[in-house]
Amino acid sequence: MSTKLVKAVGMSVVALLACALIYAFVINRPASPTAGPGSAGDRGSSKRASRDLVFDGVAVEGREGGERVWMLSALRVEAGAGDSRAEMYQITEGQIYRGGEPYLTFSAGRGVYDKKTGQLRLDGGVKVASGGRDLLATDEVVWDPKQSRVLIPGKTEITTSAGVVTVGHLEVDIEADKLYTAGDVLVREAEGRRSYRVDGHDIRFSSDGQSFEARGETTVQFELDDSED
């Protein structure tokens, strides 16, 4: 083999290696391992740099009229001096209080507290539990302490001991201890038993999701085995 050919092949290999390194570490650089969950795209380094205060592994508490209304533990909290919002990432344990006592517990990928409105917005795989057992799973939850209501704008699955209830949207009235919904509701009872659909304008579930009251025109549709017991 000629020395020229060896040189040419060697140069090509070096050039290819250089291209690969540039692609891997400059163009397609991986996200920082310290970035918050589900938000790497949103929170680039420039946004992070805009925050004045960054805390790792903290507990945050929200108060209304001097009383604790929520509390949460997050892996990371970011707050800006001129910003009325605080963003919290990887919320491992949160609590919503009623009358000074924990009422609902939750976990979420992210939480945004807006000081102006007093609202706490949770997103990124929100799971809410009540009385130590899973209550619901959804994508987004807005907790408004002033109205004492938890608003869930999207599809939600309420888990009860009797089965699973799927609703298009949900409102939890903390004071009344009721879950409000409307539209098409699917109830699937546990152990592969019956399922039925409820469609109405005003459907109120009990806090355990097992019983409901409906007002106004409401339709229930279900199927029965066409065989005598």
Partner: protein
């Protein structure tokens, strides 16, 4: 030996087919107009302020009901009405069993049935009569449209009237059997008193029987 084996294989195939055929699911639709309260998974659903239950070819309406979706049963009350094909039943209360295909009704029971008659009208078309039956209680078999009525049973068809203690209707035969203190009045005011009578609801045919029978009719002089 071969025959026994063949029979066994056929029996096995039939058994497997029977097992593999899934149970038919009957869709049921319940509409509440004012209020519905569902009490837990195994609990009852209480409906007030008007409701409608639809399944198969049946539509039932009432003022209020307590229903158990698991069992497929309901207790309805207040202006209860059941409509199935050419039959309409009005009453005060109803015990409905959707799975067993029965409905037991009580209180001012009134059944109306449109029946095509064997007799034809002037244009050659079959006549249609409306049979109205009233009683205190009635058990209805919704799969056959048969029924058993009791308690001051009274029936009217065109100009024919009948009274009895009990009445049983077989839809496939279009025969109404009246029993107990039967009194029938015909179109021409003729009357029959007997223990048992068979009335054909699609024709003017009547069979009466009993230990003591009394027939009254007028003869033109």
């Amino acid at each position: 030996m071969k025959r026994v084996l063949r029979t066994g294989v056929i029996l096995f195939a039939v058994a497997m087919l029977a097992v593999s055929v899934p149970a038919l699911a009957k869709p049921v639709k319940v509409t509440a107009y004012q209020s519905m309260v569902h009490k837990g998974a195994k609990g009852d659903t209480v409906i007030e302020g008007g409701l409608e239950i639809e399944y198969d070819d049946i539509v039932i309406t009432a003022d209020r009901a307590t229903m158990n979706m698991d069992a497929g049963i309901a207790k309805l009350a207040g202006k209860v009405s059941l409509v199935q094909k050419d039959v309409t039943i009005n009453c005060d209360s109803m015990d409905l069993d959707i799975k067993k295909k029965t409905a037991t009704v009580a209180g001012s029971v009134r059944l109306q049935k449109r029946e095509t008659q064997a007799e034809k009208d002037e244009t050659g078309k079959p006549k249609v009569s409306v049979i109205t039956l009233t009683c205190a209680r009635m058990e209805i078999f919704t799969n056959t449209q048969d029924f058993h009525a009791s308690g001051s049973v009274s029936m009217v068809r065109d100009k024919q009237r009948a009274r009895a203690d009990e009445a049983s209707y077989t839809s496939s035969e279009k025969v109404l059997i009246l029993t107990g203190s039967v009194f029938i009045e015909g179109e021409n005011k003729e009357t029959i008193k007997c223990d048992r009578a068979e009335l054909h609801t699609d024709q003017t045919m009547l069979a009466a029987e009993g230990a003591k029978m009394e027939i009254t009719f007028e003869i033109e002089e």
